[in-house]
Amino acid sequence: MTITDSRPRTATTPDIRVVRRRLGPGRRIPYAFWIGPLLLLAVWSAGSATGLISPAILTAPWDVVVAFGEQWTDHDLLGNILSSLNRAALGLGFGIAVGGVLAVVSGLSRIGESLIDGPIQIKRSVPTLALIPLFIAWFGIGQEMKIVTIALISLVPIYVHTHNGLRSIDGKYAELAETIDIGRAEFVRHIVLPGALPGFLLGMRFAVTSSLLGLVVVEQYNATAGIGHMITLAEQYGQTDVIVVGLVIYGVFGYCADSAVRLVGRRVLAWRRTLED
């Protein structure tokens, strides 16, 4: 037994207690959120400053900042960002809605499952990006094709994780619901949806990153605005610093979105006590 109580003790309350060594990850570190990314930035800066990372391989952070400023003032960077965000959000929104509904339908009814689950599993094994030529033929090369692709790519993780979360709800709660005579709708509202929520939120984390992945690809097709468009142009002109600006922006998008999902998760899953807390 290890005694690990290093908290300060006041003279008035001689609090002598034995506290077990913690096996979980322990208490939250303030701003833990930023530590990893900042460390990464520090390594990058140090590498560039000492010349270990030559500009030909990776532009120095300060040059990226300069390029960012140039893009912002001269090339409507804000417009590009908004245009990309708009695309990703629309695609993601459709993907979440459709994936969530399909997961609930297929999770709750055997007929639904036999109709939906198979096609989704098939879809999973066909890379969405390989479908783009087909979508271009169907939807043209405009915004529809891009949104459909992003929706499809983010639908899959939402479906898989929500379905899995729903099916792993303990059967004893369904039994309880049967003994108190509640209807289907109430069963879904009080038991199925809250029970599947942890799965859904995990699906969200994957879906957010998938939607960005989709964004990168679709924006290379005939886009007139967007970060992908900016990167494609920069590639043609050999401006590595602008490419890095684009990459950093994608990274920031992804990181913020993921953090937002986790934050929401912590609030709506307040009923759970896990190693997370």
Binding site: Y173, E175, A177, E178, I180, D181, I182, H190, I191
Partner: protein, 239 residues
């Protein structure tokens, strides 16, 4: 689904005739069981582990869809079950758990009253994990009582509680049953619990009612009778 003739009778009472249930081809768990419970009567069901107490209870609760068997079961329309685990939905606050599925504008108020009755006023907004085991079981009792059942089925509801909490829960359950007058079928492992709580004790063995006694006899005599029926020799010193 076991092809029972399952009728809903108006008078709050249980009538079971020739009930058979089996999980495998080579032997039944319930073999032609007969049972009657009058309205407002408190019956305790004891029996060795694996004799089919839970199986009977689940049959009465209508939760044994996938079990083979047949027989005749009549139960009141309004049946409520208290499980061994409190079975509170972890993602709903205590009050929401208690009023789950209740209709009517006064549902929340009735839920609050039921919680007060089991001594949990002020804990309406707590999450289930914030309650102790006994408090959780009390909340699940409140969830059953708020539905004003004509028949309360309880499968070892105090099995997981410590001795002291059990005694408190016994008093509470007796009080609540006297106030609300449901017919009760309580499954328990504990002969003393059965004697203290019930009007009648039934011993289940080999899938039929092996003994059926009222608890108005002297306690020591009743206890040794029931232990004998359970196949426990008293000098072995079971408590």
């Amino acid at each position: 689904m076991a092809p029972d003739t399952r009728g809903l009778i108006a008078a709050p009472a249980v009538r079971v005739r020739d009930l058979h249930r089996s999980f495998s081809a080579d032997g039944g768990v319930l073999n032609g069981l007969d049972l009657d419970i009058a309205g407002g009567e408190f019956v305790a069901l004891i029996g060795r582990s694996g004799t089919g107490k839970s199986t009977l209870l689940r049959a009465l609760a209508g939760l044994d869809r996938d079990v083979a068997g047949h027989g005749e079961i009549e139960v009141p329309a309004n049946v409520s079950v208290v499980f061994q685990d409190s079975r509170l939905l972890p993602w709903r606050r205590i009050l929401d758990n208690v009023v789950l599925g209740l209709r009517g504008p006064d549902a929340a108020e009735r839920g609050r009253q039921a919680l007060a009755e089991v001594g949990l006023e002020g804990r309406e907004r707590a999450w289930p994990f914030e309650l102790s085991g006994g408090e959780q079981q009390r909340a699940s009792l409140a969830r059953s009582l708020v539905r004003e059942p004509q028949l309360l089925l309880a499968d070892e509801p105090f099995g997981a509680l410590d001795a002291l909490t059990r005694i408190r829960m016994h008093a509470l359950l007796r009080k609540l049953c006297e106030a609300h007058k449901p017919a009760v079928l309580l499954v328990t492992h504990d002969v003393d619990e059965a004697i203290v709580l019930a009007d009648r004790v039934i011993v289940l063995d080999a899938g039929v009612v092996h003994a059926d006694v009222r608890t108005d006899r002297p306690r020591a005599e009743l206890r040794s009778f029931l232990l004998k029926k359970l196949g426990v020799r008293e000098e072995l010193g079971v408590r």
